[in-house]
Symmetry: C2
Subunit: 337 residues, 2 copies
Amino acid sequence: MRVLIIGGGGMVGQKLAGRLAKDGMLAGKPISELVLHDIVSPDTPEAGFPITTLTGDISQQSETERVAVLKPDVIFHLASIVSGEAERDFDKGWDVNTRGMWHLLEALRTAGTGYRPRLVFSSSIAVFGAPFPEAIPDDFFTTPLTSYGAQKAINELLIGDYSRKGFIDGISIRLPTVCVRPGKANLAASSFFSGIIREPLNGKEAILPVPDTVRHWHASPRAAAGFLTHAASLDTSLLKERRALTMPGLSCTVAEQIEALREIAGEDAVKLIRRQPDEEIMAIVKNWPENFEARRATELGFKAETDFRDIIRIYIEEDLDGGRAFSATAVADRERS
Amino acid sequence: MRVLIIGGGGMVGQKLAGRLAKDGMLAGKPISELVLHDIVSPDTPEAGFPITTLTGDISQQSETERVAVLKPDVIFHLASIVSGEAERDFDKGWDVNTRGMWHLLEALRTAGTGYRPRLVFSSSIAVFGAPFPEAIPDDFFTTPLTSYGAQKAINELLIGDYSRKGFIDGISIRLPTVCVRPGKANLAASSFFSGIIREPLNGKEAILPVPDTVRHWHASPRAAAGFLTHAASLDTSLLKERRALTMPGLSCTVAEQIEALREIAGEDAVKLIRRQPDEEIMAIVKNWPENFEARRATELGFKAETDFRDIIRIYIEEDLDGGRAFSATAVADRERS
């Protein structure tokens, strides 16, 4: 089968590509080709099948037509203008995130008779807006408080209707905040959730801009890649036209994150976290979801971590020091050295 | 203030125009001009202010720009491809119902500095899809089972985000099934809810295609016009960025409708209802909502009928025999004659 990842150069796209390269299979079938599309040329992992890269602006109708004529069997759509940028640049956010998705759906619909690809869309918990119940149920309404969230919620509705009409076989999965993100800190307000783990493990200072009572919803990059491959493999008739699913995750406080870091990497690592309250970030974070029921996704076999220590261990295994296998013991050794 | 009704020629648009003509005021201010826009030229009521009619295709960007330059203070957007047609003609439904709304929002956003009109959008309970809880709460998710429902749900999200960003001051109100619709039966699957009341009151036979245990959600055309004017007058800061509201209505069974008809117009009227089960209509109706909580809208002062007899009386007063005041006594007199 031919697989396309739109946004294949991003962090989750790269994790997914690595997973597909390792598995060699998707939805029980061997992968014959993987196409990675992004605005700049993505890195390609070693794989037992050919990997092609394509670069272009997926918000353009012509670009969506260019990928649709490839008739991929499975399309992962991960490309997105992120929350902060979509809020600052209204036109760019709507163009890329929603007009682009609509162009793609039209291109797929008109790509040829009988063509009905599986489309897996990475939606977001940003479709929800405060105030929230203690744990958000699967049937909670989508009242986004950002343009990004509105764009994701609209895409879910478009994918639902194009699927119901038989033009595609789509599924939208709402990812938790992905943690621990490898690489450098970015400007996202959520960046510190990863930073307070990643930086100390790399012997660097991390800034904590919120109180440690803040609770949030996490999953590892490995779990995110697993959600995506599971969504590509799922019997979508089980969704009964409710094709947007909140993924399972781990609800924990910053204090619990820090305690997990202490257990794995010791007190010296924890000492590298510097508390520096930031009113602006606190104001944003207080409107974010803290916890979900995610019953439907769990029943459908989607799996996330249940212990934040596992999330840290996955970062250490996959990404610390460029991804060499780095055991908790090795961290402890380094701490002692 | 200048008021625009898009879809001013439709049944609800005409009821609203009549109400505005009668009131002469909206949101506490005198109306200086009413513009009725539709695809064919709308009828105009007698009024103490000038009424202009405009005709055109509101799905076209140029047409939305044409109405935006008028800078109406309040815009009622009631125009829509109806459910059945949007399901049969996919492109037409999406073009008129959603691309048209998006063009309008862009036209309003770019119409001039400081312009921020109140936009009242007639959404629908079709944003919801079965299965349902016994009474649908305000925070229930929107999982439409028709393209029409998806289009309305997307418009709600667009209006929410354009409002949050300060480009418009919008509100989406989800109307119950409007009953008793005046005029002739139409091809909508819901047509019989009005037909079983309207036809007998006019001495004609009506077909009932479903069992009389079917429960549905109703409001009169007068209540619908009242929802719209109330939405135009509301302090939208009370909505707290949750700008889509399920309107109150009356949940009752077909048996209760018939009993109300019996009380008002007698047994001879009821005898004109012929039971003729229609599998196709039953299959559609079983996916429709039966009852809502509608707490937020009720708390915000939106009012619907609470007794189906009142819904019948309103039809008799406003629409029977071309709208002459027709009392229940008069009906009874006619029944006896």
